[in-house]
């Protein structure tokens, strides 16, 4: 790891610690939302950005994670048990949803996952005996860890920060291991990767399952943050929003979804001073980013860095130019 990266990580972690100091409960709530959506978007970034499999079902997995945690904690179980169940359930369902990806790709796969999102929404809305139907579930408790009670907004923020940092650390570890290279190989040339001994079936399913389980974790944090969940919170619109976070931030870049989530969650709040125009300005900004940098903000940053960096002349190119 370069000195620049270490310095950046320290600054980022310190900024996370001090960000909520002196802020209102609402701002702290928005910061929590940003961290939670960052976790979900990091999961989609693994599936889409690293492994190259499109998914429009991330909101459905957040919904499953949120409902499992809500039902279990409301039944008296500790959040730690509930989150384990949420992650396991979304991992297994994600594994099953990965099977269509073995047969169909690109927009076909997008429609398969979109249909799954619609299916989950219908189950959450119609199975009232379990999910409370359109009225949702109210009064979801926040976790207590011995003397550390997350009932107030600030402790809940720090609890979310810990979950975010642990997840980001685990993700960084995995992407830095040979698994990360295998996911990229799967994205870039699955037939070649397969011919080099990579079990592409297993890696495709894992990309879906791990990405989905991260959405499950995000849902398990979302439920106690809002303390109320209903099916309308986990529709296709949210899946598209999470996709936007990944694309705008930079798909396939580690910090892309975190930056993208900041843009999608925090920017509309920062633009509220413009009164009724904030959504128009926000939409225009997103359009400009997408037109001028289809690889997202981090892709643009990388291009600028490469352009500014003095390059060594490649001997083979010099030789070729003289032919």
């Amino acid at each position: 790891m370069t000195a620049f990266r270490i310095l950046f990580l320290i600054t980022f972690s310190v900024a996370l610690l001090f960000a909520p100091i002196g802020q209102s409960n609402y701002i702290i709530y928005i910061l929590c939302s940003w961290l939670i959506f960052s976790i979900s978007a990091m999961g989609l970034n693994l599936t889409l950005g690293y492994a190259g499999q499109i998914s429009l079902a991330q909101a459905a997995f957040m919904g499953i994670g949120a409902y499992v945690t809500a039902l279990l904690t409301m039944a008296g179980m500790h959040w730690l048990v509930a989150v384990f169940c949420s992650i396991s359930a979304t991992f297994l369902i994600g594994l099953a949803l990965g099977y269509p990806a073995l047969r169909v790709q690109h927009h076909f796969l997008a429609f398969v996952t979109l249909a799954f999102n619609a299916l989950v929404f219908l189950v959450l809305r119609n199975e009232e005996w379990l999910t409370g139907g359109s009225l949702g579930l109210v009064g979801i408790p926040r976790p207590v860890f011995g003397p550390f009670d997350t009932m107030k907004q600030l402790p809940f923020y720090y609890f979310t920060v810990v979950c975010f940092l642990v997840t980001a650390g685990a993700m960084a570890w995995m992407l830095h291991s040979p698994w990360g290279r295998a996911f990229k190989a799967l994205r870039e040339n699955p037939i070649r990767a397969n011919s080099l001994g990579l079990n592409t079936t297993r890696m495709t399913l894992l990309a879906f399952a791990i990405g989905s389980s991260m959405a499950g974790l995000a849902g398990a944090l979302q439920a106690p943050l809002v303390q109320f969940i209903e099916p309308g919170s986990f529709t296709l619109i949210l899946s598209l929003k999470i996709l936007l976070m990944v694309i705008v931030g930079g798909s396939g870049y580690f910090f892309g979804p975190i930056l993208g989530a900041a843009l999608v969650v925090l920017l509309p709040e920062m633009l509220r001073f413009t009164d009724g125009y904030y959504l128009i300005i926000y939409a225009l900004l997103v359009l400009v980013v997408m037109i001028f940098s289809p690889q997202g903000l981090l892709g643009l940053g990388r291009k600028l860095l490469i352009a500014m960096k003095p390059r060594k002349e490649r001997g083979d190119l010099k030789q070729g130019a003289q032919l």
């Binding site: 040979p178 001994g197 490649r314 083979d316």
Partner: protein, 249 residues
Amino acid sequence: MQTETVLSVKDMTKHFGPIKAVNGVSFEVKKGEILGLIGPNGSGKSTLFNCILGQLAPSSGTVQINGKSVAGAQAHDLNRLGVGRTFQQLSVFPQMSVIENIIMAGQEHHGTMFTRLFGKSDAGLTGAAEDMIEFFRLGHLRDEMAGSLSYGQQKLLDAAMAFMAGPGLVLLDEPAGGVNLTMLQYLKERLITYNREHGTTFVVIEHNMEFVMSLCTRIIVLAEGEIIAEGAPEDIRANQNVIDAYLGG
């Protein structure tokens, strides 16, 4: 002492509806041999390759590698049995550096899936990967993105990747296609050196007659899905059937 048979294909047939792409092809390849597979376009060479490599299910016939049947084996299973391959089209990972491409080509042969998750980032392969890119004289491009290399350099990288896991048998699909003369000499010399140093067996599909005749120790000629000639390069050059069907006057 009898030389060990590395690849054995028996009565291989592949039909696409009424079209017989491969029709009752049988041959064996001995350890250390460089076998050329030539024939006009549509003669069934690539279909035969894909049937051997498990990417197409043959209509009938068997494939044995080192005496073991590989019926139903997937490409990654074959790779683990020691079969490497290159593709007709460029087939590298363009957004990964040259060294990353080579490490990727070897990492699945080191440890288990879970030890790879908790092991070293390079799976302990940086040294071996550097040796391999030096062998193919790509050392000066070590950290360049594979997609930024010239066509010929990507062909060399493609070949280097096929050798990284130390295969006993390598199937090369048109390695000379689109490669300039200097690079071609380079590639041929490297393949012959590798064959001599490691005793690796090659099966090569190629249209470049100069390349295939000077590289291979034995040649099989296919036409309309069937073997029409088999023998040493000089015999193939003189074979009237081959001249009529493929080489021309």
